[in-house]
Symmetry: C2
Subunit: 180 residues, 2 copies
DNA sequence: AACCTCATGTAACATGTTACATGATTGA
DNA sequence: TCAATCATGTAACATGTTACATGAGGTT
């Protein structure tokens, strides 16, 4: 069986959530998956085409005069199978995130302490914003998707984000102190 | 001033640690930066050339008959300046790590609960291995680099890894319970 | 009139990984 | 002798981002 990259599987998954057009998909990804998987139009549109040629999705073209064709995509049974198959496969890559702050910190002997502190302070502020975003999404899910059977899983991913980010914030606070 | 990508700055930084050859650099990166910044030979060798043509490093070629030339790289003053300059610049990207587990979890309604549990259980095991690695590196730094002025910064990055990974492990435990 | 959002798409570019080629030395 | 490690490097490929082109319709 042909394999795809994770962004393609993300596309298959998002098609199960009543997202039909490339534009809708992008919106939805930005709202809900953005904190652990983002994707650009440059990936979405060409990949949707591939899905169709591989029989994982079908497309319904809505010709509109003047406007470019609107295209709605639908998962096929084969597409669902490929999605389910990917879900049960073992993990390929354990997140080894590249972290710019840590990279700079690693070499921070080469700069004065106060610069390193402000580096971490800035990072902490960004992390705080992340937490706020997570909580906003959480609330949004509570109001708009409380009946949705997917919702519990979405909340798990948010919980992950919140917990690890909070741990990172605490590290920031302690490390700023230590550098003094 | 010309800008470089973070992998190139990582190279500049590593050259301050008495790593001289491409091979040495790779070894060192794998040992110490690997948990937040990895790099392959396909990046190292071409990038080292660029550093030389841009005057950020010099190279000393050691012709050996039969063997391919051994090449030792040294930072120039300009190279040091570029490094320091990068250190004090604001962060470009706040880590938005792509996380395969979360991506799968997000769509896990489409598979039975026990499969999702074993997904997370597997993840947890990998995270535990990470913790072990962090602690091994920590000990190594204590024994081999206790006098090194860089060492405190290295320990900060390890602390970050340990804390966020521990938070992730706790999330795994709790989430496995919740899915039951 | 200018700007924003909706909407689709491509081309150029940046970045990074993998497989391969080459060949010496060291140790089991 | 066979495998591993030391050591340098490239080419093909995979992946992803950015800038741009196009144009409708609504808002300021």
């Amino acid at each position: 069986m042909k394999t795809y990259n994770n962004s393609t599987y993300a596309l298959l998954g998002i098609l199960t959530l009543d997202c039909r057009t490339g534009y809708e998909i992008k919106q939805r990804m930005d709202q809900s998956l953005n904190h652990f998987w983002k994707i650009s139009y440059g990936q979405i549109y060409p990949n949707l085409k591939t899905l169709v040629t591989d029989g994982l999705a079908t497309v319904k073209v809505m010709s509109q005069d003047g406007k470019p064709d609107g295209k709605e995509y639908f998962l096929t049974t084969k597409g669902e199978e490929v999605l389910k198959n990917w879900l049960k496969e073992p993990l390929q890559h354990i997140a080894n995130e590249r972290n710019e702050v840590l990279l700079k910190l690693f070499f921070s002997r080469h700069q004065p302490a106060d610069q390193t502190q402000s580096l971490i302070r800035h990072y902490k502020e960004e992390l705080q914003k992340k937490i706020d975003t997570y909580e906003a999404i959480e609330e949004m899910i509570g109001t708009n998707y409380s009946q949705n059977p997917d919702a519990t899983y979405w909340l798990y991913t948010l919980d992950y984000g919140k917990r690890t980010t909070k741990a990172a914030i605490e590290w920031c606070e302690d490390t700023i102190e230590k550098i003094k």
